[in-house]
């Protein structure tokens, strides 16, 4: 079985790519990498295009090494990775939609983000103007048999949530197949970033998924800083981590309540929403924005914490620490609620491993991965925290992972506040003379976010941000199979995948 290092060494290493290596390989090595991903041992971290080449980021599960391999495709085609390794499929369809690069041997050539409404094809590659609406209806996968019927849901849903389409095929109440169709919120972020300044791109990065604005800001900033090889002052590192943990805390609290609410247990939602609001208000008092948007910027943080900020945050942490245990007990001791969550929507450990699912989806199904640990970044090497892992893979396990992570984030936030020392919070970026590339992997509340970019002067030449949802959405299709239609909201909320993050 080839190791990542062998794959990298088989190619020509690209200079000024930090902190992990990138190598340009040939078609055979590319196919070997796809085969190795399918065999296990390597995990796919990302797959993205440029007008005439494709890149693949890979994690070596044994050594925790990360590397990028690139393949030039002057004839606008490359060997399909999905033909060997299904998690690459939607990414390949996206590369075709955006760049027009064809994955030869792909098991599914249907478009993904392109709904035939952009008035052009291949917007980031060699553009072809088209006149709308000439798109043929999207072909959903067939499901045939006696007694089957279809339920079409979305893109406008009944709740206050993002748009997407779900096509259920059901036999009575039982879901036989779910097929997702996403892309409705595609805003062309990568197109807007190309050629923009670092500041503009940072603002866009913070608006890829609103609930993860800190994590995205951090991933983008770390990639810029890696490309320019600049180190952050300790206070900036700690303030970023503080914001990241507050964001994780607020989202997990909101999710725990919302999952229970989707099982019609509104009491939990009411209490969790109060705690979430406390955290958001503390963030507002400390940083001037409830969601802490545009605060993590390349070079540090946009502004220092307010003088009374630490006290405001401590008060919110104290309140959460005081009230949360009773809610955990409530969850644990309500049989009617457990009846809905236990053994519902199971993701098997094998699937979680194959898709390299991050966050609570992976960790509830036995995949012990957290980007704060592996590859790890500052300041987490100096902080004490556990990464909870369960193996049941059901809605209940995803709730418990969140509960444990709330506890861990509380502990982390206290540690960070205790360790805050005076100092600068921002350094200036350099005007690079030569193009340079950076990559970063950051743990958002939902899972690991990959950021990759190439800088040319003060401009972004190409930037790609991969949401954790790319590798979680397909698992939802698997998790719902054999469950009843009425449990779909519950399963969906327990995943809480990002629409905007994957649609970009």
């Amino acid at each position: 079985m080839p190791k990542l290092i062998d794959l990298i060494q088989a190619g020509r290493t690209v200079e000024r790519h930090h902190p992990w290596p990138r190598a340009v390989v040939d078609g055979d090595a590319w196919r070997a990498a796809a085969g190795a991903l399918a065999d296990g041992g390597l995990s796919l971290l990302g797959l993205w295009g440029e007008p005439s080449c494709v890149h693949m980021a890979i994690l070596d599960d044994h050594t925790s090494d990360i590397g990028v391999i690139s393949l030039d495709c002057p004839d606008r085609r490359y060997p399909s990775v999905a033909a060997y390794h299904p998690p690459a499929l939607r990414l390949e369809r996206t590369i075709h939609d955006l760049f027009g690069l064809e994955a030869t041997g792909t098991p599914d050539p249907r478009p993904w983000l392109d709904h035939g409404r952009w008035q052009m094809r291949f917007p980031l590659g060699e553009r072809l103007d088209t006149s709308p609406p000439d798109a043929a209806p999207y072909q959903f996968l067939p499901a045939e048999g006696d007694g089957l019927h279809q339920i079409a849901v979305g893109p406008v849903h009944a709740g206050i949530i993002e748009p997407g389409h779900f096509r259920f095929t059901a036999n009575g109440e039982t879901v036989v197949r779910l097929e997702q169709r996403l892309g409705y919120t595609h805003k062309g972020v990568e197109g807007l970033m190309t050629g923009s300044t670092v500041e503009q791109a940072a603002r866009l990065a913070g608006r890829i998924s609103g609930d993860s604005t800190v994590a995205y800001g951090l991933a983008f900033a770390q990639a810029v800083e890696a490309a320019q090889q600049i180190a952050m002052p300790p206070r900036a590192v700690l303030l970023r981590a503080l914001m990241a943990e507050l964001e994780r805390l607020a989202n997990h609290l909101g999710d725990i309540g919302a999952i229970c609410n989707d099982a019609s247990f509104a009491l939990m939602q009411a209490h969790c929403a109060v705690l979430r609001e406390c955290v958001l208000r503390a963030a507002d008092a400390a940083f001037g924005h409830r969601l802490m948007r545009d605060l993590v910027v390349p070079g540090g943080v946009a502004r220092d914490i307010a003088s009374d900020g630490p006290d405001a945050i401590r008060a919110a942490l104290d309140q959460t620490r005081q009230h949360f245990p009773a809610l955990v007990e409530l969850y644990d001791n309500t049989a009617s609620l457990q009846d809905r969550t236990v053994s519902t929507g199971i993701v098997t450990p094998a699937l979680a491993r194959q898709f390299a699912a991050g966050g609570y989806v992976g960790r509830a199904s036995g995949r012990d991965h957290d980007a704060r640990r592996k590859p790890g970044y500052l300041p987490y090497d100096g902080l004490r925290f556990d990464v909870p892992v369960l193996s049941d893979g059901d809605v209940n396990a995803r709730v418990w992972i969140r509960i444990r992570e709330v506890e861990q984030s509380l502990a982390l936030a206290y540690q960070i506040l205790a360790g805050l020392e005076a100092g600068p919070v921002r350094v200036s970026l350099q005007a690079a003379t030569e193009p340079c590339e950076g990559i970063a992997l950051v743990e958002g509340f939902r899972g690991d976010i990959l950021a990759w970019l190439r800088l040319n002067g003060d401009r972004i030449e190409r930037c790609h941000l991969r949401d954790p949802s790319w590798f979680q959405w397909p698992l939802l299709e698997a998790a719902i199979e054999g469950n009843i239609v009425a449990d779909f909201p519950l399963c969906n909320k327990s995943f809480n995948c990002s629409y905007s993050g994957q649609d970009l």
């Binding site: 949530i161 748009p163 919120t185 972020v189 197109g191 609930d211």
Partner: protein, 177 residues
């Protein structure tokens, strides 16, 4: 569970308790919304939220309207599951090309009289996504908008204030259709 419910019975409601400078504003809003909403729409204002391509930030703050601090339902404002039941469409995000038709159809499915509120900076003019091949622009590029609520995202209090503004405009006949 009984203990929690029991405690809630005897605890002061959070809605009243929060000691914040805009408490007065909140109380004022409560009085105003209920007065104007009642005159125009009976006892309720039903809102259908439509995400036309947002980053989800606005949705988070719209959700927060329902928590115990803002408790939007006490004003008679409700979020409903279908445009058929709605008086107001609360639209977020730059309208993407891929969501344009869905927004138009949701608008047409909403019975008259109806009002459209565009929430967030993106909903005004596309925000930082304006000019993209995948984005139409602000909400008013697709359906007529009665009110814009600025912010990225607007805070729950700002959204509440905006809805009051709409009710007042409706009441004075400016935006009535």
């Amino acid at each position: 569970m009984r203990k929690l419910l029991f405690q809630s019975l005897f605890r002061q409601p959070l809605t009243e308790q929060a000691p914040r400078p805009d408490d007065a504003a909140l109380a004022e809003l409560a009085a105003m919304v209920s007065r104007t909403a009642r005159r125009r729409l009976g006892r309720s204002l039903s809102i259908r939220e439509v995400d036309a391509g947002s980053c989800n930030g606005c949705e988070l703050e719209i959700h927060a309207l329902s928590n115990a601090y803002y408790d939007v339902e006490r004003f008679g404002i409700r979020f409903v599951a279908s445009p058929r039941h709605a008086d107001v469409l609360l639209v977020t995000g730059p309208v993407t090309n891929n969501m344009r038709e869905a927004l138009e159809r949701t608008y047409r499915a909403t019975p008259d009289p109806k009002w459209v509120v565009a929430a967030g900076d993106c909903a005004r003019d596309g925000g930082c996504f304006a000019g993209s091949y995948a984005v139409v622009g602000g909400v008013s590029a697709v359906v007529p908008v009665d009110l814009h609520i600025p912010g990225c995202p607007p805070s729950p209090m700002a959204i509440l204030r905006g809805l009051v503004g709409l009710l007042e405009a409706v009441d004075s006949g400016v935006a009535a259709k």
